[in-house]
């Protein structure tokens, strides 16, 4: 006997109940006299079909039989084989009700109330009209237990005869009575009324009918159903697990309840309000000396945060829901295109806000179609280029500094920047001189402009140039970003950065000209502080745009006060220039503000229609002190400033670091999966991204080649009591300290973040060479490294 997995049963019950709930309104509408269209029939059909399939899998014959009969009825309605009749809605609704009751009673069908049987019977008889067309031949070569009874008829009258409850004549007279009855009565009730059958016999006969129906519905002719069933098992109890295992589940059934999304949204809003009130209360009371107030505030803090988190979690769903659809999609598309693709999925457990996940679905589909259609070559092309015939499409999701990153990586032909550029000029998207000045990365990013596509012919899978701009807009609406990297001949990486949730976002609060603004942390790269004396050297104007010289690159600057038309008198006396490096689609830029005030978790409030057109604001929020603050939109600000984003300095790219005054900027990285390390950004000369196979080994020492030099590599685990380098990834980072004179690199597995902090680490580990101490940075325990000591203990004399 098949053992029923309680968890499976549980899932089946929940799912089927959901299906039934979805079906009900459609049936109700039918009953109101509006015939369903093909689409609605299909929806009902699919729901019942899913129930049937799952029930069949679990061996729940009765449920399977009933859903099968109604499914056939629907099919005929849909295909127009049977005219729609308002009265049909009623039996279908009763099927829904009956199925629901059966699901509720699921562990023990033998305890189904007798009236349930009667109901099932009349439904089945009504359905048999629909059934007879396909099942009339009654030739089901099933090998199951009940077939021991030899019969194959699906009609209740004949079954009763076969089972010896009725003589053929009795059966005929009951049928005749049934035909004459008005309203039509069930066969069973009539037979019972005529005193020909007992209730128990009717139940037996109905159960038998159900099983035969189920077999018609489920058994593919070639594969007989399970034969282990003891031949004389009571049909109604076939394949039902022992009651003991089922009783355990009865408690588990209440573990999930359905809550409407508006209610969750309301809870979320309220939690947001609570966070705001908490912030205000904290600001007001922080300096009070009331006894016990600190403790109380602390506790309230904790509870509020936890409450907010829990409510947020109710909205979180794993990426898997989205990922599960991809294999099929990739298979279909690649078959259509004659391409061979292996799909690798990673990070299905990463959770995202439901609304983000929903909105993400379309852009993801689009990007994958793009990758397969434009990116991936045909097998012969690939082989001709010396690649494996089968391409790889890697879709992965992971967390990085409070964001979720979704990457779609293909090893196809890559995007040819020059071709995109030529196309853009040809279509008049950009003038020739702008194109000439573009870097490779910038020209690749042109695909985000409306009306650009590199594939000349139009295929039905993707592309007429619409697409990437829509993808970008969709992602931006979610408060996210799309990044694009591509190497011609090697492949393309599309990286989507998303906030965890839309409702509450961590932000940096800045001020300029006395006004406060919030900047979502997701856009933040780093903060640079420049002393007035340095300004002449670091700032320069290129074609009318002020640029900041940073790590051998020029970063365009946007002055927040000027862009917003604010008169700013306070700046005159300032000694420093605060520049916030922001990541926007199309590149980074520096936003000049007066002051950095705080970082706060803010609740985004949408803007009313009167201010919607202000694209430079993403929304508004209420700060801890109760004042309203505008949330800056990093993309809109660039537009407002009339700026064309140029250079793309990215700390993750290979860049030279020159001495700057951002001594308190830290780069945070990991080596093993857990420990975080921090180094002052100013200590670094360069940061390199290397493929793991670029690392060469000579004796015990590892090296990488850089500009014709071999640079020895330092593994932190060889110098400090920390976890070993995670080499299970394709690429690593090499941090090259300035003090090494460019002749040594520290291996890191991931760059977590760059941030500004004035935190001083504790000095507990000060006696370990290379280690300054520990501090909590951004919520994580972080080990602060000291470069000179580190180099010395690696046997490298620091250059001064």
């Amino acid at each position: 006997m098949m053992e029923l997995d309680p968890e499976l049963l549980e899932e089946f019950t929940v799912e089927s109940t959901e299906h039934l709930e979805a079906v009900e309104p459609l049936l109700l509408a039918m009953e109101q006299g509006s015939p369903a269209d093909a689409d609605e029939y299909n929806r009902i059909f699919r729901a019942l079909h899913s129930i049937k399939g799952a029930a069949g899998f679990l061996g729940l014959d009765q449920i399977q039989g009933l859903s099968h009969v109604s499914e056939s009825l629907l099919m005929r309605l849909r295909d127009g084989e049977m005219p729609f009749d308002v009265e049909m809605a009623d039996p279908l609704l009763r099927v829904v009700d009956t199925l629901r009751q059966m699901l509720r009673a699921l562990p023990n069908p033998s305890e189904y109330p007798p009236e349930l049987y009667a109901e099932i019977e009349s439904l089945l008889n009504a359905g048999l009209g629909a059934e007879s067309a396909s099942a009339a031949p009654n030739t089901v070569p099933a090998a199951g237990s009940a077939v021991a009874r030899t019969g194959t008829s699906l009609l209740i009258g004949e079954i009763c005869v076969e089972m010896g409850y009725l003589t053929p004549d009795q059966s005929k007279s009951v049928l005749a009575a049934q035909k004459a009855s008005e309203p039509r009565r069930s066969f069973g009730s009539l037979a019972q009324g005529l005193g020909l059958m007992t209730e128990a016999q009717i139940s037996e006969a109905l159960a038998e009918q159900m099983i035969r129906l189920a077999r018609v519905a489920s058994a593919p002719p070639a594969t007989p159903p399970t034969t282990e069933d003891p031949p004389d098992a009571k049909p109604a109890a076939v394949r039902i697990a022992p009651a003991t295992t089922l009783n355990k589940r009865s408690g588990a059934r209440n573990e999930t309840i359905r809550v409407s999304v508006p209610l969750l949204n309301k809870l979320m809003d309220l939690a947001g309000e609570l966070v705001l009130s908490r912030n205000q209360l904290r600001q007001r009371l922080e300096h009070e000396t009331l006894p016990g107030i600190k403790n109380l505030l602390g506790r309230m803090d904790l509870i509020t945060s936890e409450l907010q988190e829990s409510i947020m979690n109710t909205r979180m769903q794993p990426m898997r829901g989205l990922f599960d659809r991809l294999p099929r999609m990739v298979r279909d598309i690649s078959q259509k295109l004659g391409k061979e693709v292996d799909l690798e999925l990673e990070g299905g457990d990463v959770e995202l806000d439901r609304s983000i996940l929903e909105t993400l679905s379309d852009p993801m589909t689009h990007l994958i179609r793009n990758a397969l259609d434009h990116g991936m070559e045909t097998p012969s092309e690939r082989v001709a280029r010396g690649k494996r015939g089968t391409g790889t499409l890697h879709v992965r999701a992971y967390h990085e500094s409070g964001q979720v990153i979704v990457e779609i990586v293909d090893d196809g032909r890559g995007i040819d920047g020059a071709r995109v550029k030529a196309k853009a000029v040809e279509r008049g998207v950009i003038p020739q001189e702008v194109a000439d000045a573009m870097t490779a990365l910038e020209s690749i990013r042109l695909v985000f402009q409306a009306g650009l596509s590199t594939v000349e012919e139009v295929t039905d899978v993707s592309g007429r140039g619409v697409g990437m701009d829509v993808v970008r807009t969709n992602i931006q609406q979610l408060g996210g970003l799309v990044e694009l990297e591509s190497v011609v001949g090697e492949g393309t990486v599309v990286r989507i950065r998303l906030p965890l949730t839309l409702a509450i976002i961590p932000s940096l609060i800045v001020s300029t000209a006395g006004c406060r603004f919030a900047i979502p942390q997701v856009n933040l790269v780093e903060v640079v502080r420049i002393h007035v004396e340095e300004m002449d050297r670091r700032l320069q104007t290129v074609r009318g745009v002020e640029m900041l010289r940073i790590r051998e690159q020029l970063l365009p600057l946007v002055w927040l006060d000027r862009t917003l038309g604010l008169e700013n008198e306070s700046r005159a006396g300032e000694e420093h220039l605060n520049i916030i490096v922001l990541r926007a689609d199309g590149g980074s830029y520096g936003l000049v503000v007066d002051e950095l005030l705080d970082s706060e978790e803010i609740v985004v409030k949408p803007l009313s229609a009167f201010v919607k057109s202000c694209e430079w604001f993403a929304g508004a929020t209420i700060l801890g002190d109760g004042a309203v603050s505008m949330i800056l939109d990093v993309h809109g600000l660039v537009k407002r400033a009339g700026l064309q984003l140029r250079r793309i300095p990215d700390v993750h790219e290979s860049t030279g670091v020159e001495a700057d005054s951002s001594a308190r900027s830290l780069i945070v990285f990991t080596v093993a999966s857990r420990e975080r390390f921090a180094l002052p950004l100013g200590d670094l000369q360069r940061l390199e991204r290397v493929a793991i196979d670029q690392i060469e080994q000579v004796g015990m020492q590892e090296y990488i080649q850089h500009r014709g030099r071999a640079i020895p590599l330092i593994r932190l685990e060889q110098l400090l009591p920390v976890g070993a380098l995670d080499v299970a990834q394709d690429e690593l980072f090499v941090l090259i300290p300035r003090l090494s004179g460019g002749s040594a690199g520290i291996l890191a597995s991931r760059i977590v973040d760059t941030l500004v902090s004035d935190l001083e680490p504790d000095e507990e580990d000060a006696d370990t060479p290379g280690l300054l101490g520990k501090a909590i940075l951004d919520g994580h325990l972080t080990l602060f490294l000291e470069t000179a000591g580190l180099l010395r203990s690696a046997g490298i004399e620091p250059a001064v």
Partner: protein
């Protein structure tokens, strides 16, 4: 029909001053009156929008009726007030047969004045003299209160969301 202010068959209006003239709005459309504390400006928004203000956790868009009436924006003084308007949803919930705006908004005025009711002659159509040019449809009419002509604002027109009221500057 809700009868709050119709008990004696009289409509009541909350009156206020803008640029020395007296205006009024159906009191059923008014949620409350507030001092304009901490109005956060929205840079480059339409001149009609004075900014945003926090009212017990809700963000309210503050509008300057003067701008719609073709007058210069008003300076803030000690007497300045915000007339906070009920949203359409709130009105509907209360069964009030009035239309204002779907968003939470407040009207900025120089000073708040009395609650007034139309005299025996009722609401008269606004003559060209009091409602010149485009401002015409912003007024429902006028009522005479003692010596004063009080201009009755048509809330739906005043708070209309159109290109004129939303375009960024």
């Amino acid at each position: 029909m809700n009868q709050e202010s119709h008990l004696d068959g009289q409509r009541r209006f909350c009156s206020f001053f803008v640029d020395g003239d007296r205006f009024a709005i159906d009191i059923l459309a008014v949620r409350e009156v507030h001092r304009p504390l901490g109005v956060t400006p929205v840079q480059h928004a339409n001149r009609f929008v004075r900014g945003l203000v926090n009212l017990r956790g809700q963000i309210i868009t503050v509008l300057d009726p003067a701008v719609r009436l073709g007058l210069p924006p008003r300076e803030q003084t000690k007497a300045s007030r915000l007339v906070i308007i009920k949203t359409n949803d709130e009105l509907r919930e209360r069964g009030l047969d009035l239309t204002t705006c779907d968003h939470l908004v407040a009207l900025w005025c120089d000073a708040i004045s009395d609650v007034v009711s139309p005299g025996p002659s009722g609401i008269e159509p606004a003559s060209a003299a009091v409602a010149d040019g485009d401002a015409g449809d912003l007024l429902q009419g006028v009522i005479q209160v003692e010596e004063d002509v009080v201009r009755i604002i048509a809330p739906a027109a005043m708070l209309r969301i159109d290109e004129e009221s939303t375009a960024a500057a």
